[in-house]
């Protein structure tokens, strides 16, 4: 059942190549970095158990698992390990990174207002660019539910947005 050495090397290469992207995705799905690392760890652990099956797309598998863990995190809180003592990520050593941290903080703030399913729907539709049908399939819900979750989610984000940003973001109506 375990992985042999070659498989472990493949797995390591996969994490090196796709890990940052997957963490970024996880980071959008759940409220903070510690939790993002924890859900990603849970998803990758699960992947190790299926690695020998040569999945067509391990990345898709991890993304689906992340979505499943994230969408129910509110009502099934214990499914997601509580934040542990992870370091708080890289230090803002360059101006780029510092800007990024500011953006991250605002993004966290805006998305924090959303209940899990709305949050996941907004992330998949708006930030990940999935279609309504793709989102519905991934979430195991109807297209109607995707529409309403997206609309209610964006309403909530708009409520917490600074009115100034809304104006400068160019509402031409």
């Amino acid at each position: 059942m375990g992985m042999n050495r070659a498989e472990e090397e493949d797995f390591t290469a996969f994490v090196h190549e796709r890990g940052d992207r997957l963490l970024r995705f996880a980071r959008l799905l759940v409220p903070d970095r510690a939790e993002a690392e924890d859900v990603l760890q849970a998803a990758l652990l699960r992947l190790t158990r299926h690695w020998d099956k040569q999945l067509a797309s391990p990345e898709a598998y991890v993304r689906t698992t992340l979505v499943n863990l994230a969408k129910d995190r509110g009502k099934r809180k214990h499914l997601v390990p509580s934040p542990s003592d992870h370091s708080q990520g890289p230090h803002p050593s360059s101006p780029d990174l510092a800007d990024g941290l500011v953006a991250r903080a605002e993004l966290d703030h805006l998305l924090k207002a959303l209940p899990p399913r709305q949050r996941v729907t907004v992330v998949l539709r708006v930030l990940d660019g999935l279609s309504e049908a793709e989102t519905a399939e991934l979430l195991g819900c109807s297209v109607g539910a995707v529409k309403s979750n997206l609309s209610r989610g964006l309403d909530k984000v708009r409520e917490s947005l600074d009115p100034e940003i809304m104006r400068s973001a160019g509402t031409q109506t």
Binding site: T12, G19, D38, D99, R158, M166
Partner: protein, 250 residues
């Protein structure tokens, strides 16, 4: 983009801008893959040792006691009300280690993502089955359907909350707790690999040590030979504790 209302477009655009700017801040630690692999090895070892401990609280205590031993059967405490009324919290289930899994079986499962303990659930869907709980006109669901046929489950506390159709992938099973309203199961974590099923339940042992068959399962011969004992029962407080909140008690 389609004709979403204009303000929504602006909100969406703003979110996208932020996400692009924030992206460089999410980088994995250098040896993250190694950490995961080390954890996987450790879990696999624990799995092999068939730690059937009922509660996170006793994982540490049970560690030494639950090293693999000889019998074909093992007992495990049910730590929560999620299989009530079939198996009440504090009762034990005797599992066969080498029995084939069939629909209706009550099984011991470990290694689920995010759940650091073994749990007991019922197999509702086998690989290839289509499982759903369709809503009627009142928006409620009276019976779980498998491949379009309603199951008669006299042993469950029904939930009546509908859930969407799921096709169980090859190599997986769909699990539900008998306390439908309270249980955390495949409705939450999806179908589960057969690899994580490590025991098939053959009987329940109540708190007085009396055994009884498990309702709703395929017929199983009573256990023979040595039964590996369960770890210590979970401490009283943890039985209805935070791990499985909101038990349905009627």
């Amino acid at each position: 983009m389609s004709q979403i209302m204009q303000p929504h477009d602006a909100v969406a655009e703003h979110l996208r801008t932020l996400a692009v700017a924030a992206a460089p801040c999410a980088e994995l630690r250098l040896h993250y893959a190694d950490e995961v692999l080390a954890l996987a090895r450790r879990r696999r070892w624990i799995w092999r040792a068939a730690i059937g401990t009922g509660s996170c609280v006793v994982v540490a205590a049970g560690f030494a006691a639950a090293l693999p031993s000889g019998g074909d059967y093992f007992a495990m405490y049910q730590p929560s009300g999620s299989m009530s009324p079939t198996v009440e919290a504090g009762e034990q289930v005797v599992f066969g280690k080498n029995l084939p899994v069939a629909r209706g079986d009550v099984v011991a499962v470990s290694g689920l993502p995010g759940i650091d303990m073994s749990i007991i659930r019922r197999v509702i869907g086998m690989p290839g089955d289509i499982v759903s709980c369709p809503a009627d006109e009142s928006g409620k669901c009276d019976a779980v359907e498998v491949n379009g046929r309603a199951m008669s489950e006299s042993y469950v506390v029904p939930d009546r909350e509908p859930f969407a159709e799921v096709t169980v992938p090859a190599g997986d099973v769909y699990l539900l707790g008998d306390a439908r309203r309270a249980a955390i199961d495949s409705r939450d974590f999806g179908p589960v690999s057969l690899n994580s099923v490590y025991g098939v339940g053959v009987e329940v042992i109540d708190v007085h040590g009396e055994s009884r068959p498990i309702p709703g399962t395929p017929e199983h011969a009573p256990p023979t030979g040595q039964i590996d004992p369960a770890d210590d029962p979970p401490p009283a407080g943890s039985v209805t504790g935070p791990a499985m909140p909101g038990q349905a008690d009627d």
